[in-house]
Structure formats: C-alpha cells, structure tokens
Amino acid sequence: MRFLMMSKPTDEPADEKLYAEMGKFVEELTAAGILLATGGLEPGGVRVTSSGDEITVIDGPFTEAKEAVAGFALVEVRSREEAIELTRRFRKIVGDGESVIQQVFGP
C-alpha cells in the first residue's frame, strides 16, 4: 500500500548536517525499494478556487503558511505501521514540527 507523507514548514533553517542526514535517509529508503517519489515544495504557490462557473487564481504567499505543505514523500509499504515507523524516523532527523501521512488509493 502507498502512503503520502507530507511535512509542514518549520522556522528553523536547514543546515549542512540535516541535508546530509536527509540524503542518507532518502538513499536508504530508495535502496530498500520503499521510496517511490519525494520532493520539496515552493512556499506559497498558486491557489485556484472554483465557485459555480467562476474560477479564481491567487498567487501566494498566504497568511496561514503553517498549514501548507513543504515537502512530500510517496512510499510503498506493507502496512500502516511501517509508514508510521518511517515517518517517526523522518521526524527524528528533521526535529520539531509536524508531518501528516495518508494512504493513497488508486490509480
């Protein structure tokens, strides 16, 4: 089963050590055949809303930046617990903050 792990932005700027540890973590998960895709997201982005026939396009940044997603990882695991365990390890590397994992259905 697949899970999408999304992480919210933190105030702490990333340092060398964090990059190195993250690189190692990503490499390990790839080697284990678990990590399918991963990436960081630009802050803000573009918001597209629809209401009736009307489509509104708004450029960021937005005020509720804390709710935004800063990075994601798509993992293929055997159980929800495996996804939780991986997220736990990820959080230990990046420090304080919040991640959300959700199972991906389909395609």
Binding site: T30, A31, G33, E76, S79, E81, E85, L86, P107
Partner: protein, 684 residues
C-alpha cells in the same frame, strides 16, 4: 494484534534482513542467524509493550541479536573447543558491510536448494515474512512452509555455503537463480495460479521491493535492472487488468488511463539503466523491452507489433520455452496476420508441457476467430475454459465461447456422446470409472463440444500423445482400451460418420494400430479409424532390486518376530515365487517332506530354513490357507470359502496386510527409509 505488536511487526519487516545478514557475518549459518534474530524479536515482544518502543528500534534489535550471537560463540568455544574457527572473531563482532544483504540473498537463493525452498527461505529471511504469511500467499499450510524453510537451512549448512559474494566464474548462474526466485514470487502474486483472487498484491509488492533492493546492491548487472523494469511495468497494469467482478481484462482491452504512470516511469528508468550497461540483452531485458513497447502505446491500436514480434524472435532464440513461443505466436499473429500466428501455435499443440495450459486453446481460439473459423474457435474457447484453474478466468473464456453463435444443424458432440457412453449399464463400476478418467481427459484435450463427426484419427493420436507421454505402458493401454471401446460403441450407434470414413481405415493404419485385420468385427472398423495411430505398448516389467545381503542378514537375525511373518518372508526368499502365489498356498497342498507345494500349474519349492518354520506354522492343521489373518473377519466381511480356514473360520492373510507388516518391520533396514516391499525378498 494490538497496536504495539503491529508496530513491532513493522519494525521487524523493515529491519530483519539487515539484522540477519549482519549476524551471518558472525555466525556463518543462516539457520542460526535467523534463530538469533528471532530471539531478539521475542525480547522486543516482551519488553516493548511495557517499556515502549525504543528511539532507534532497529539498532536495539541489532544490539540484542549481536549480544546473543557473541554469547552463542563463547558457549560454542567452551563446549566444542572450536577456538580456531572463532578466534578471529574475538569478542568484537565484525562491522556490517553494505553488501551483507546481497550476500544473504545469494545464499537464500542458492541453486543447491529446490526452487520452492529458495522462495520460502528468501521471503522469510530477506522479506521478513512470517511462516503464516508465506503459507497464505502460496495457498499451502504453515507446516509445509516451515518444513521447506527448515530443509533449506539444513541443506545450506550441510553444503557449507560460504557467506561470500559469488566469484566472477559463477556470478551469472548465481544471479539468475536470485532473479528467478524474485520473478517467481512476483508471478505468484500477479497471476495467482489458483483461487478466486486474481491478484495477491502483497506478493507482487514483496517481489518489487526485493528487486529494487537488488538493483541498488548490484547496480552493474543489466539483467537485474531488466527484471525490475519488467516487474514495475507489469505492476503498473494491476488496477486495469481485472474488471469489477474480478474477471481478467486482456492487455488490448485495458483502460490505459488506469495504468500507473509512476510505475511505468520507474520501469522506463530501470530499462534505460540496463541499456546503458550495454552487452547483449538477456531474457529479462528483452521481456522488459516488450513490456515497454506496450506501455508506450497510447491505445491498443498504436501498439508496435512489428517491434514486439522482433523482440519475441530474439527472446525465443534465447529461451525457446513453450510459453515464450506461444507469446511469440500471439505477437506474430498481430504483426504478420492470423495465419502466420496460427502456424506457430499449431507447431506447439503436441508439446506435453502445454497440455493443460488454458492459454494455448485460448490463443488458438482468438486466431481462428480472426480467420473466420467460428465453430473451431468456439470449441477452443470452451476447451480453454475447462482447463483454466482460475474461476474468473474460466468464466471469462466461457463467455467468449458463448458469444460465438455456431450455425448449422444440431451436432453430436464428443462430450455428449462420452456421457451417453458412460451411462451404459452393462459395464462394471470399476471399468466405468477407468473409462471415465480416460475419456474425461480426452474431452479436455479435444474439447467437450467438438462434433464427433469432425474428429479424425490424427487428432486423437496427437491428443493422446500429448496427454499421456510419460504414463506407464499399462496405463497407456488402459486409456487405449477406453477409447477403442467408446468408438466401437459410437460406431454401432452411427454417431461417428464423416471423419471416420473409410479413408482412415487403410490396412496400414490398422497394422500400425497393432490390430490384426482379422480381429476386427464390423463395429471395430470405426475404432481402427479413431485409434488408428495408437499402438498398444509392451508392458515392461520393472526390475525389482532385491534387498541387499547385509540388510537381509540383519532381518534374519532379528528376534521377537511373529512366526507367521518369519515363515512368509523366508519362504518368499527361498522359493523366489510370487507373493500372491505364496499367500494362496493351502496346508493340504504342502509336501513338507519334499519341501515343495503345488500352486496351480507350478511348483513352489523351498529349503531348510523355510521347511523348519513351515512345520512349526502348520503344526496340527490339515487344511485351509497356510497364512492366516490375525483375527476372525467380521460377519459382513466373510471371505470366500477357499480363503477361509474351515476349522477356525479365520481368513487368508491379505496381500495388503502382509505388505504393510513387512514395510513397517523393515523401515529401519531400508536405506531409503520407506521400508521394503515383499517383492524385494526375492533372492539375488
């Protein structure tokens, strides 16, 4: 399972391969390494629920397992004084290395193991699956899997397989053994050979994980990337290849919008990596290239069949297995026309390996349909449906058959007439059962709905040859009798006309059929026709290997054996007579003075040892069977008079019972551990 247990299970599955591989570095025995790792798991199960999951659960498990390993070695050194072997290990266990898991894979997939054992052991030690999970995935019982794993560990220990990467000279062979195991696991999940679930996704996922892992560990092997590419692309179609009711959807009818583009992209990347490494493409790279061709076509019509047929040509040269050749026929049928495909398929029809393979008639039905030969196509789809082991697939093929309206008058089908034949009341139950088996097979081979009138001797001959290649002569003759009897019956009912016309009944055919023309009654003429190509086979007597001298001596030296058994065995050995003959002897037929007895038209004679025992055994008796059963038979099972002692009412010792007792008594003598049959008492 509680939450904490599920967490432990998840950690275990993520870490166990690395833990076991690391332990292998210390203890060099996969069975022991796995046991020590399991000890660590047990410790986790005991401690984590109370103390919570440690910060780094993988490191925790590894530390415990290593401590156990070191303890174990200390003990071994103490008790067995294998100081030298372990001296270099000291108390500092060696550091794990990056390719430890790769070494472990090479060991669990070692060619010294039978394939099923490789699969079970790999899923267990590399995949981290439990015995129960493996059993469920392969639809076998837990004890079966446990036995396979135990046997694999034992064989590896006995063979002394080192914890090392294979050298250059054996790398290709060892690697292909690993790839085979992974692809087998994938296929078991992808095309579940039995059961109602068409995909067992967990196994596919496991195989994909193993393949991706291997690709990282052995990045310079093109075939590894080829296999990964093949699996990624096949897995990309998982969602599209079954319909809402679980029925299979063929590749060209699949909704390509449901193909998983992420996996397709991963497949492309893997194949590119394989190509970059260069060299002549191996079987997995070629299969992956074929899969990529399909994945690149936006619609089924855009498929580059010419390219695919060319790839199959290359693949068939590399591995001309019946399945590859069948797939090649499909590709050729689409690239170069249905007749070209049919020619290739027809060349495969006599291959015994495809005897029960439902896709052969399935493909043939397709090609026949495209050639406008509807009745034949329909018969092939029906045959395919009957052969398919998977319920969804069988239903699908039956629907394909039903969709073809066969015009024309009512025809008498093979299936109907076989059923009518078997409904006769003038045959014994045993004969009917035997005929039913043979003719049922024939229906499966030729198609239940094929018109009897269209059947030719050639078709029957080929079907029989493919069905019963490896059977013994006796079984072959039994099948032949069934077919002859059936056709004779059909001929008298005027059911077989057309195809069984005089043309098939040339004298040459009859002679080839092993029948003298004079033996044939009118009804048998048609039989000669259908069974014309089938000759009876001489029943070769299998040579029975007598029991070896030393074993026999030990048998004779035994004490405490019942008199009856001792007598029977000695008599069989000294007389060299058949078991049934000896068991049929009666007391009144014994000539104890001349040491012989009349058995029908022949004589059975013996020597001193039997003479002494026989005298003892029949003491006081004047008539009835020499060898009697232990107990008096129950009232419902009174034996015939000649098989009963008129004085005591006890029955004659049966062959089965005598055989059973002998086997049981000799199980420890027989080096094969099965116990001997009475036949083997004959003298050397």
């Amino acid at each position: 399972m509680t939450d904490i247990h599920r967490t432990i299970d998840a950690v275990w599955k993520l870490e166990s391969a690395r833990i076991i591989a690391g332990l292998m570095r210390i203890v060099r025995d996969v069975g022991l390494a796995e046991e020590l790792a399991q000890d660590a798991l047990v410790a986790a199960l005991e401690q984590w629920p109370a103390q919570g999951v440690p910060d780094n659960p993988g490191a925790w498990l590894t530390a415990i397992a290593k401590r156990r390993a070191v303890d174990h070695i200390r003990r071994a050194r103490l008790h067995e004084r294998k100081a030298q072997a372990y001296a270099r290990e000291q108390d500092q266990p060696p550091e794990p290395e990056r390719d430890d898991v790769l070494r472990l894979m090479f060991i669990s997939c070692h060619p010294v193991l039978p394939t099923e054992h490789r699969v079970a052991l790999t899923l267990r030690v590399v995949g981290g699956l439990t015995t129960r999970e493996i059993a469920r995935a392969f639809l076998v019982t837990e004890p079966v899997v446990a036995r396979r794993i135990a046997a694999a560990k034992r064989v590896l220990a006995e063979a002394g397989v080192p914890f090392a990467l294979p050298g250059a000279d054996e790398l290709a062979g060892r690697l292909s053994s690993v790839l085979e195991v992974i692809y087998l696991i994938f296929n078991e999940g992808y095309s579940a050979t039995s059961g109602d679930d068409l995909i067992r996704p967990a196994l596919c996922l496991e195989a994909l994980r193993l393949g991706r892992m291997l690709a990282e560990l052995a990045p310079d092997q093109a075939e590894v990337h080829g296999l990964v590419a093949l699996m990624e692309i096949q897995a990309s179609r998982s969602a599209a290849r079954t319909g809402p009711d679980g029925e299979p959807i063929q590749l060209h009818e699949q909704n390509r919008g449901r193909w998983d583009q992420l996996l397709i992209r991963r497949g492309f990347t893997a194949l590119l990596r394989a190509r970059e490494l260069g060299g002549t493409p191996g079987p997995y790279v070629l299969q992956a290239a074929i899969a990529v061709c399909h994945a690149q076509a936006r619609t089924a019509e855009e498929t580059d069949w010419v390219q695919i047929a060319a790839l199959y040509d290359a693949l068939a040269r590399l591995m001309p297995t019946p399945i590859v050749r069948l797939n090649r026929a499909v590709a050729v049928g689409l690239a170069r026309g249905p007749q070209a495909g049919l020619d290739l398929v027809d060349a495969l029809r006599d291959d015994p390996a495809l005897r029960d393979y439902h896709l052969l008639p399935g493909v043939r039905g397709d090609l026949l349909l495209r050639l406008g030969r509807e009745p034949e196509a329909r018969a092939e789809f029906e045959r395919a449906a009957a052969l398919a082991g998977n319920a969804a697939e069988s239903a699908f093929l039956r629907r394909r058959a039903d969709r073809i309206a066969v015009p024309g008058p009512e025809t008498v089908t093979l299936g109907d007439s076989v059923r009518a034949f078997l409904a006769r009341d003038d045959l014994g139950a045993e004969t009917l059962r035997s005929y039913g088996q043979s003719l049922g097979r024939l229906c499966l081979a030729l198609g239940d709905r094929v018109a009897l009138a269209d059947l030719t001797a050639d078709q029957v001959t080929r079907a029989c040859a493919a069905q019963w290649t490896d059977t013994s002569a006796a079984s072959w003759n039994r099948h032949l009798s069934a077919i002859r009897s059936f056709t004779a019956w059909a001929a008298t009912r005027d059911l077989t006309t057309g195809g069984l016309a005089a043309g098939d009944l040339a004298t040459g055919d009859l002679v080839a059929g092993g029948l003298a023309a004079g033996d044939l009654a009118a009804g048998d003429l048609a039989v000669g026709g259908l069974a014309a190509g089938l000759a009876r086979r001489a029943v070769a007597r299998t040579r029975v290997e007598p029991i070896g001298g030393p074993e026999l001596e030990r048998l004779w030296a035994r004490t405490g054996l019942p008199l009856r058994e001792r007598t029977l065995w000695r008599l069989l050995h000294e007389s060299a007579a058949g078991v049934r003959v000896v068991l049929s002897l009666n007391v009144e037929e014994l000539d104890l003075d001349d040491r012989r007895a009349r058995a029908g038209a022949a004589w059975v004679s013996w020597r001193a040892a039997s003479a002494r025992l026989l005298g003892e055994l029949v003491a006081g008796r004047t008539r009835g069977p020499v060898f009697l059963a232990d107990r008096r038979p129950g009232p419902a099972r009174t034996p015939a008079e000649r098989d009963r002692c008129p004085d005591t009412g006890r029955g004659r010792l049966s062959y089965e019972r005598a055989e059973y007792l002998f086997k049981r008594a000799t199980i420890d003598l027989d080096p094969a551990g099965r116990g001997y049959t009475l036949h083997r008492l004959k003298p050397r």
